[in-house]
């Protein structure tokens, strides 16, 4: 089938993407004709578009796997599930960030349309079945995010963060592209199934393929923020405006997971032994550095940045086991992680107000005296990040660790467990300042109703998924089976 045919059947799997593209283009145009005061219209339009696309994706759940556009694009349970999660988490990001952006004059069409374009990029990445689609999705996402960070023009810190992010990010994309081109040379194809086929049947030039693999893994590690490619994370998390940080910290991790799955588990499964070793190094270094350095941070955003590094180490742990069990554990982990990130940055945004960024740990002092409910929400999130039951973070860790042990890396389990104790310390510190210290300054909490509800549901979901993790775990397992 060499001639491109555009029919309903070939387009159907990509309906959510097409819908989002149409909607974001509409948003771009509509925004031109609106005054500043009518910003609420575009905001609600954006949130509604995201939720509408999420509903579209949700409706396709259960439809069997379809590959379209000559093998460039796939729609399977994994992609459907991840897209729903991505769209919902971006919507939550916008809800959390609304007041913050509004009082700083950032809630304009640019922020919203860039967010939606980045989301579109993520969706393309998630559904990619071809090196080119993968790369295109990635670039659409990251280019939009660079701009998102740089949007706060009058902030030196944000501009610096954007520069750093852009330069290093471009370098990483280059590495990735270089690696992909070598894989193309070694296997003669850019499509995942064909690459997998030629690797499995010994048609590939193995030395070249391994050489390419190193670059690909480095590119992935950069996008994830795994050590030693983590340098951008603390600075960007710290420098970007909090909603932008939240944006970077949450949904792209889902896309990155899909990226790794498609590339390593589907495309390069014939080279599992090769990438496994590299991932072991990434995981060990990330968990170690992330947890240890986080202790020294007094800025909450920086602390969460290092915590992200260690969590990505855990994610890599799940993947490196190289089994379906491991992949589905990693998927569960990443979904749980996104929920926790949303809630923790949501709390920072909740406490921020005009002219005040609640991003120092000390800004949470005495929160319990001011608002028992939100202190409790943050308590759940912190214990979940630390992996203490009954929050979902515990089951995420349990699932990953059992997969790693199954793969025979007992020492890695013990290592990860010991470093978790160190990790617990800095999460505990947040709980400590909230409950055991007196408020340092005035804390004002006056969120909009939408934020109040979404944040509460978000944090309670962390608890409820910890009490009843079975349905999500089963869904993850089925998604992984469907994608393999």
């Amino acid at each position: 089938m060499n001639t491109a045919t555009f029919s309903w059947a070939t387009l159907a799997p990509a309906i959510p993407e097409i819908a989002l593209l149409v909607l974001v283009s509409t948003l771009l145009i509509v925004d031109l004709f609106l005054d500043e005061e009518e910003g609420a219209v575009t905001y609600w339009f954006a949130v509604a578009s995201l939720l509408g696309c999420a509903a579209l994706c949700a409706m396709t759940i259960g439809v069997p796997t379809r590959v379209t556009f000559q093998g460039m694009f796939v729609s399977d349970l994994l992609s459907q599930m991840l897209k729903v999660a991505t769209l919902v988490s971006v919507a939550a990001t916008l809800v959390y960030g609304r007041t913050y952006l509004q009082v700083r004059g950032l809630l304009r069409g640019e922020f919203l349309s860039l967010s939606l374009f980045a989301t579109l990029g993520m969706m393309v990445m998630i559904s990619a079945h071809h090196f080119l689609t993968l790369y295109l999705g990635l670039e659409l996402m990251t280019l939009s995010i660079y701009a998102l960070v740089a949007l706060q023009r009058d902030s030196v810190r944000a501009t610096e963060a954007a520069m750093k992010y852009f330069v290093l990010g471009a370098l990483a994309s280059g590495l990735l592209l270089y690696g992909l081109s070598m894989l193309y040379g070694a296997t003669g194809s850019l499509e995942l199934t064909r690459v997998a086929y030629s690797l499995e049947h010994g048609h590939a030039h193995m030395r070249l393929a391994v050489f390419g693999l190193v670059f690909v893994v480095a590119g992935i590690a950069f996008k994830l923020g795994a050590v030693p490619f983590h340098m951008w994370i603390p600075d960007v998390y710290h420098g970007a405006s909090t909603p932008a940080t939240l944006f970077i910290g949450a949904a792209p991790k889902l896309a990155a997971f899909a990226f790794i799955m498609r590339l390593l588990a589907n495309g390069l499964q014939g080279m599992t032994a090769d990438w496994q070793m590299m991932l072991v190094i990434l995981a060990v270094a990330s968990i170690g550095l992330g947890n240890v350095v986080a202790i020294a941070q007094s800025n909450l955003k920086r602390m969460l940045a290092y915590s992200t590094i260690s969590h990505m180490g855990f994610l890599v742990l799940g993947i490196l086991s190289g089994t379906d069990n491991g992949y589905s554990s990693a998927l569960f982990y990443v979904v749980a992680y996104v929920l926790m990130t949303l809630a923790s940055f949501g709390m920072i945004l909740l406490l921020s107000r005009a002219g005040f960024e609640a991003e120092e740990i000390d800004d949470f002092k005495g929160l319990n005296q001011k608002s028992k409910w939100y202190a409790f929400m943050m308590l759940i999130v912190m214990f979940s990040l630390a992996g203490i039951p009954p929050a979902v973070g515990f089951f995420a860790k349990l699932a990953v660790l059992q997969a790693v042990l199954e793969a025979g890396y007992t020492w890695l389990v013990v290592y990860a467990v010991l470093l978790s104790v160190i990790g617990a310390f800095y999460y505990l510190r947040i709980v400590k300042v909230m409950y055991m210290d007196d408020p340092a300054g005035e804390i004002t909490i006056d969120p909009r109703a939408d934020m109040r509800w979404v944040l509460s549901v978000n944090a309670l979901a962390i608890l409820i998924l910890g009490i009843a993790p079975a349905p999500l775990m089963d869904l993850c397992a089925r998604a992984i089976t469907a994608s393999m």
Binding site: N368, K372, L379, F383, I388, P389, P390, F394, F395, L398, A399, L401, Q402, L405, E406, T410, V413, V414, V417, L418, S420, V421, A424, F425, L428, V431, K432, Y435, M436, P469, A470, M473, D474, A477
Partner: protein, 491 residues
């Protein structure tokens, strides 16, 4: 009727209700809700005692799938070891609620809710027959305890709370690693009873034993990982100290009996000498440390460590007397340490000092209180007729069968224990009225009388007639000993 589920979820439900109803300006609503919740929690656990059959089987079993993917079940059941501990915990929760009444004035609702929720978690942990379920309750209970120490504790509370949390977390995470290992060894089962039957090689057993040891030894606490306990005890509010001493320390002993011994019997036998030495160091050395304390709570904390040394000693000499003694000692120490901490609380609420020096001649002003304090002090030093005597005597008896010197060293506690406890009593209660503050003391009120009397009755009852307790646990102990004497190392 799912009695075990009720004992777990009644306190938790009431804890949440207390949180919802709490109003800091009018704390009485929270107080009465909590009292009703804790009493109900105690009442629903009474059928466990009434309906208990004297066999070694798990009873009141409940089984429902929880996470099918990992074969994790909501599996509950009790035997002769866990059932008394659940009752003990439910009872202590009631006492803690009564004890806080006029004392805690800050964030009353959260304080009570933390205790009730923790009580449910602890019951769940004792009743769990699934390792993941056990672990969830085991860890979850750290959260309320962390807050109790850190929010309502003394001046150095934050340090103590963090130390307590990290110490116990380190141990429990290593235990988690062994749980996952055992899960794979049994081809995907988290059932504790399946693990009891699992054949394991010698090296594996020793590593598992050591990892679990890290977890349970911290809880007990055994020398040299006991250093968190004096800090936590001293800084915790009275209720926190009571639960810590009476209940959470028992988790360690319980863990050895439920996990270490049956899962790794060969390693337990092989490392018994090591465990006995650590226990004896706790008994003798910590007893001496207790002697020089000037802070009453610290003294009782060290005394707890020393007494818990008896529990581990009794467990690791592998005979029926020792084990029975060890378990009775757990229960009895629950009563006595709780009582002593409550007594110190009574004094602290009036004078706001825990220093022994701040007192003297208290008996002149508080005769009723003094009578109780002396009774509990005597029980703590192992006076015959009190529960303290039974456990210690049985352990010494069991130790004598194994080695004279074990028994000899263990028995020194009867001297040291009497020395530090009675010396403290002498300095606090007797002599001339020491200062103005003591001169103004009022004797115990009805509320205080209630919890002291309940504990006094229990201490005497177990001391005079321990047979019912022994009957409940004997079949389980016999079964456990039979199990431990069977090698698991394959041919």
């Amino acid at each position: 009727m799912p009695i075990l589920s009720l004992t777990i979820w009644t306190p938790i439900a009431f804890g949440i209700a207390v949180l919802a109803l709490a109003d800091d300006r009018n704390p009485d609503r929270a107080r009465w809700t909590a009292l009703v919740g804790s009493v109900l929690g105690l009442l629903v656990s009474v059928p466990l005692w009434m309906g208990f059959q004297a066999t070694a089987d798990m009873q009141f079993v409940e089984l429902a799938p929880w996470i099918t993917r990992f074969n994790v079940n909501y599996h509950l059941g009790v035997d002769g070891i866990s059932m008394p501990l659940i009752l003990l915990n439910s009872l202590m929760t009631v006492l803690v609620v009564i004890a806080h009444w006029d004392v805690i004035r800050d964030k009353v609702g959260q304080y009570l809710a933390a205790f009730l929720i923790m009580s449910g978690f602890i019951n769940g942990m004792f009743a769990a027959l699934d390792a993941v379920l056990f672990y969830v309750f085991f860890e979850a209970m750290l959260i309320p305890m962390f807050l109790i120490i850190g929010v309502w504790g003394g001046p150095n509370r934050v340090y103590a709370a963090v130390k307590f949390f990290l110490y116990t977390l380190l141990g429990s995470l290593l235990m988690l690693a062994t749980f996952i290992y055992l899960y794979h060894q049994t081809n995907g089962s988290f059932e504790i009873l399946d693990w009891h039957k699992l054949q394991l090689g010698r090296t594996a057993q020793i590593l598992i034993f050591l990892a679990m040891f890290m977890s349970f030894a911290v809880k007990v606490p055994m020398w040299p990982v006991h250093t968190w306990l004096p800090d936590a005890h001293v800084e915790a509010p009275t209720g926190g100290s009571v639960i810590l001493a009476a209940i959470t320390l028992k988790v360690g002993g319980y863990g050895f009996l439920r996990f270490s011994l049956p899962v790794t019997p060969d390693a337990s036998q092989e490392l018994a000498g090591f465990m006995i030495v650590l226990s004896l160091i706790a008994v003798v050395y910590i007893g001496l440390v207790a002697l020089v304390q000037s802070d009453m709570k610290k003294l009782i904390a060290y005394s707890s460590i020393s007494h818990m040394g008896f529990v581990t000693l009794g467990i690791f000499i592998f005979n029926a007397d020792g084990m029975r003694g060890g378990i009775i000692q757990m229960i009895s120490h629950g009563f006595i340490s709780a009582a002593l901490f409550l007594c110190v609380g009574v004094l602290y609420d009036r004078v706001h000092s825990r220093e022994i020096r701040a007192y003297g001649g208290v008996a002149n002003r508080m005769p009723v209180f003094a009578a109780f304090f002396v009774l509990f002090a005597m029980a703590n030093s192992g006076l015959p007729g009190t529960s303290g005597f039974i456990g210690e005597f049985l352990v010494v008896l069991g130790a004598m069968k194994v080695n004279f010197w074990y028994a000899f060293l263990a028995a020194t506690t009867l001297v040291f224990g009497a020395a530090y406890t009675l010396w403290m009593v002498k300095r606090v209660l007797y002599g001339e009225v020491a200062n103005e503050e003591v001169a103004l003391l009022k004797d115990v009120g009805r509320r205080e009388l209630a919890f002291l009397a309940i504990l006094a009755v229990l201490v005497l009852a177990v001391g005079v007639y321990p047979k019912p307790l022994g009957d409940v646990m004997d079949p389980t102990i016999q079964e456990l000993l039979r199990h431990v004497n069977q090698s698991k190392v394959g041919p």
